[in-house]
Subunit: 530 residues, 2 copies
Amino acid sequence: MNPVITPSTEGAAKPLRPLGELTLRRVAIDTYKENVAYLHRDCDVYRAEGFQALSKVEVRANGKRILATLNVTSDPRIVQCHELGLSIDAFAQIGVDPGYPATISQAEPPVSIAALHRKINGERLGRADFLAIVRDIAGHRYSKIELSAFVVATNRGELDREEVFFLTEAMIASGRRLDWHERLVIDKHCIGGIPGNRTTMLVVPIVAAHGMVCPKTSSRAITSPAGTADTMEVLANVELPFERLCDIVRDHRACLAWGGTADLSPADDVLISVERPLSLDSPGQMVASILSKKVAAGSSHLVLDIPIGPSAKVRSMPEAQKLRRLFEYVAQRLGLSLDVVITDGRQPIGRGIGPVLEARDVMRVLQNHPLAPQDLRQKSLRLAGRLLECDPDIRGGDGYAIARDILDSGRALEKMRDIMQAQGAKPFDPERPELGALTFDVTAERDGVVTGIDNFQIARIAQLAGAPKVQGAGVDLLRKLGESVKAGEVLYRVHASFPADLDFARQASGRDTAIRVGEAGQVPSVFVEF
Amino acid sequence: MNPVITPSTEGAAKPLRPLGELTLRRVAIDTYKENVAYLHRDCDVYRAEGFQALSKVEVRANGKRILATLNVTSDPRIVQCHELGLSIDAFAQIGVDPGYPATISQAEPPVSIAALHRKINGERLGRADFLAIVRDIAGHRYSKIELSAFVVATNRGELDREEVFFLTEAMIASGRRLDWHERLVIDKHCIGGIPGNRTTMLVVPIVAAHGMVCPKTSSRAITSPAGTADTMEVLANVELPFERLCDIVRDHRACLAWGGTADLSPADDVLISVERPLSLDSPGQMVASILSKKVAAGSSHLVLDIPIGPSAKVRSMPEAQKLRRLFEYVAQRLGLSLDVVITDGRQPIGRGIGPVLEARDVMRVLQNHPLAPQDLRQKSLRLAGRLLECDPDIRGGDGYAIARDILDSGRALEKMRDIMQAQGAKPFDPERPELGALTFDVTAERDGVVTGIDNFQIARIAQLAGAPKVQGAGVDLLRKLGESVKAGEVLYRVHASFPADLDFARQASGRDTAIRVGEAGQVPSVFVEF
């Protein structure tokens, strides 16, 4: 993300001339991704500018310009009359010391607002429109309200597939693009929604052990109880300077890092800030978000996992096939080789849900431990097999067996240890993982068979228990779909580190345990590749 | 607006149990219509709750609940660890003294979010859906992001006419509804966009002088240089308790007050807070907004003014006719008698643009002053005539002459003085209005005829000059459409009270004067009723 607008690259309308200078002050308020500027009510500039409610203002200092929402105060302890206060993030964007001179003026609307209005009115937009809109979004020139309008106006069915391609292309152009100078740069991705689905941490060491280049950057959890970056962080440092990542990839063929520092598809991060609160994840936006990050990261081959199930993001095979075709169309236009696999998303993968619990499962699979979750192992081997088959020397169908050999022989574990060491390993013992010490068990109310696990509700319980902020918090599943259970037997155990968290999780599971116990014939089936 | 959620009327999902109590503190920051809660970063509750970026929180104190966006600070001068800070508006909503105990918890999403998602996905919504959505909006349970999503998802073409009726009905139900216990309660309204269009302040005294009941509440300017309430405020107090308004209407048959305190269609005020920054004013939303306010205010008969012109909100007759039919359909379903007139919106009405300048024009018309703007007089008489014809004793076509008699005889002026007196008259001399002392003139660059006046740009210049905040600021038009002008003659004079304001207005008019001078044959024509 590069929220600073440098005048040279600025395409916005000419702003009004700013008034007299004020003195910059850092206001120690964290307003998240919304820049806020604070003026005193008696400040001359505030009076003269005639700022109104919800004013968007432009702050200039140190040759930089940022946009912000204006808040007005009468408390001189926050800002005095001659001062211009900026919230924590906004202040950091200007990058100067307190006391620096600054000016403030009313912001003109971003140049792409006319295109946004055309989209709101149902028109089809062209390549130049998407470039202008995404440039303004990446430049933090859209307010939350305008971002929300864009996300809704480009929602389900509002974008045709070529528009999705234009959007993706514009999102790639909005940030940095990496070039690894390798013929094959592979990546895997899952569209999300399945707790515990940490196959990335197994697939990457397997394919890297085979010699393939896999510079994997992942996100942290946004609405889930753990992202790959959160789980990897239990085992090693994931926030590394880009140059260090390059060294690690050169030495070990792979890395497992957080992607937040790489400035890849920065518009995506901004859009996510409104998509998540709205729980909007339309096919077009999903395709643009995922493929823009992959292409910007320099990937040449991608295996994409679309899980389907009653509580997965995609609930039916026709829906999955439609999504697959959209991914394939855009990937082809971008020159990205894409292999889509549609998988079983009826329940979480593995047993643990939460960073430490998921790290435990991953390490057990790598160690070929007797308690390793077999579903996580199998899914990872199959995905790794598909990725290995991107190697032209490997025959179609042979990938799985090669992946299994690499895992069974301990070479995957060895590669994982190399990566962890290179990133800065942290002490971790999968036999004694540091789980939250406070626990409660959720038990079966009747004899029967597990006929349903609600991915969303079980994830919510893990989050309320503290995951991913509290690494040792989460849910440990002791029963999976189709398994028999007797009344009173434990279905899952919740771990937390703070009484309040435990209490929240208990209330939520009391309202809905997320696990249904019924008759054997009631287990839903899905017909998928794996 | 009644942003306080009392537990008894609350339809939202059961919230999680709140944690330990904090001490309420008023943080003197004006965040406009967005409630903000401030917690110290080291506050136990913040830690234990696991609040995340963009968290929506629920604050409870004094038996009331409000929703707010969370900001986090490390500055104990803003809030200390045991304190819960609230922005100015949010604090006022709770209505207690600082130091009062309060609790904070994560807010559950509003119950109507599922219906919002169905609308985003293009489904048609039913009556109950609109009721639920509007109830949540009026209860301040939607975030700006969700409001924006609703506004875009119900934009142009997304609502059929029955849905517009459901939305209007729900907006009426969200607030107070007045009953004047009169057979005829008349009102007039203009869809807006034409500067200087202060016919209300002439129509109301005329029809009230005839004896009709016209309890007129108006808005302040939101994006324009003056609303009726702003202009009336030059002449009299407009912020009156509801009970006082009732007395005035009983005594004088009319009032001319600001509608902001009456709690009529409160959801509308909330929606406007995102519609305005987005410049969205789709037909469905316009109809729902206007008609909900009128019905809630207890009107039985409404004359609605739709101006058309190249820089008006409605640019063509077919568009105006389509809008008229939508207004008529919804009004008929609501039992409101509606008379739509399509008028000339090619240029401002009257000469002054800005509160004092417009008050001057209004008073000159009432006084039958030789300098009274004839267009304002004519339009007001025609509108008043249409309203008078709501009286079953007046024959169709006779209204205009009756209105003219009332105005020419001085009875309208007398009624206006009664109303001003009753509301608390302010000293005002139309011969010596208190205009901003700083001025500049914009002159014609060539000989010719005025062929165009851009409503939007002339309004913008008046706003930059300080209107409506600075009452005496604005634009005084000396030439109107079709009038001859010689090079160097003044087209309009800008008044301001502050050098910076004058400078802004000068820059804007330097870029675009808003007035075009050309040949007589180039004056655009419109074919309208008046």
